[in-house]
Amino acid sequence: MEDLIKILEKNGLVFAFLIVGSIMWVSYQVSSKLTKNKIPGAAIAISVGLLIAYYGKGEKGIASIPAFSGLAILGGSMLRDFSIVSTALGASFSEIKKTGLVGLLSLVIGTCIAFFAGGTIAYFMGYTDAKSFATIGAGACTFIVGPVTGSAVGASSDVIAISIAIGVIKSVFVTIVTPFVAGRFGINNPQSAMIFGGLVGSTSGVSAGLAATDPTLVPYGALTATFHTAVGCLLCPSILYFIVNAIL
């Protein structure tokens, strides 16, 4: 047993691949078999991650146990930012140009609404400093924008954890609610699907929600949703944070 732990500690990153791979497999099975894809596998997997972190001690979640320290490398800011940047490949600029100004408008408005609504609620619940306001507001964009903003402005780990949780709740909420409200909000053609993706953001939620509404709309919504994360990562830790910082 002691030898095993030593090997795991020495090969932390490789062990992390095994752990995360297993979590992903179980989560996607649960998503397809138990929820009929109503709750996205990604959202389940991230929730499992947060749950595991709960059993670690202190600031670094499960990574505070040496055998699991590799998770801190795999989930550290370097590899996180690297893999996020790579997702931009899915979005071709010539395609978003087709949505034109309206697409851009929905991206900027969606980011601002989520940011200020989220931050304001946080403010009234006791998170009154600019860093927490910005991080929680950014979490209301997507579960990526939250931690990216949090580490940029230097927010504490527990506030960053809240921002991830908000993003996860958003993705589950969007997945479940979209098929029921699509008619009322006019999500029934490519253009409104693009506007929907740009406003709401959460790529996993938007794709899963549209898949349940009308599968032919998925690529349109997913396209602008990918840009939502890029726009959020651009605006939240910079301009929007300055505005908050100036007011608070």
Binding site: V20, I23, A45, I46, G49, L50, I52, A53, Y54, G56, K60, G61, I62, F68, G75, G76, L79, D81, I84, V85, S86, T87, A88, L89, F93, V102, I109, G110, I113, A114, A117, I121, A122, G139, A140, F143, A152, D158, A161, I162, I164, A165, I166, I169, K170, V181, I187, Q191, S192, I195, L199, V200, A230, V231, G232, C233, L234, P237, S238, F242
Partner: protein, 118 residues
């Protein structure tokens, strides 16, 4: 070769971070401001350009695609290393923010759709 794609990604990533860092210093903040966002935009533009000139082979593209499929697993690893115990006190707020902020975005869909039709 796949490494060409990975190298292009790495180049965009680093330039984005340098720009973000520069902006951080410009505004007297310690962090990196929007570096990830800059890097993403840069990758979109260079990739678009390289594709038009057919500089990028399918094989090189696969190097970038591998990392984009690793993004959810990386986020899972990241969430498992957060201070969740301390965040539990904010669990109710997370629910509130997640639902209210998202609901407001839904309300904007018909309004922006109308602007688009004009």
């Amino acid at each position: 070769m796949k490494i060409y794609g990975v190298a292009l990604l790495a180049g965009c990533f680093l330039i984005g971070h340098i720009v973000g860092d520069y902006f951080g210093k410009l505004f007297h903040l310690n962090g990196n401001l929007g570096g990830v966002g800059f890097a993403m935009l840069l990758l979109i533009f260079t990739y678009d350009y390289a594709k038009k000139k057919s500089w990028l082979a399918k094989e090189s593209e696969a190097g970038i695609l591998f990392w984009s499929t690793m993004y959810i697993p990386v986020v899972v690893a990241m969430s498992s290393t957060q201070n969740v115990k301390a965040a539990m006190s904010g669990g109710f707020m997370a629910l509130l923010v997640g639902i209210i902020a998202t609901g407001l975005c839904y309300l904007m869909i018909p309004i922006i759709s109308k602007i688009g039709k004009k």
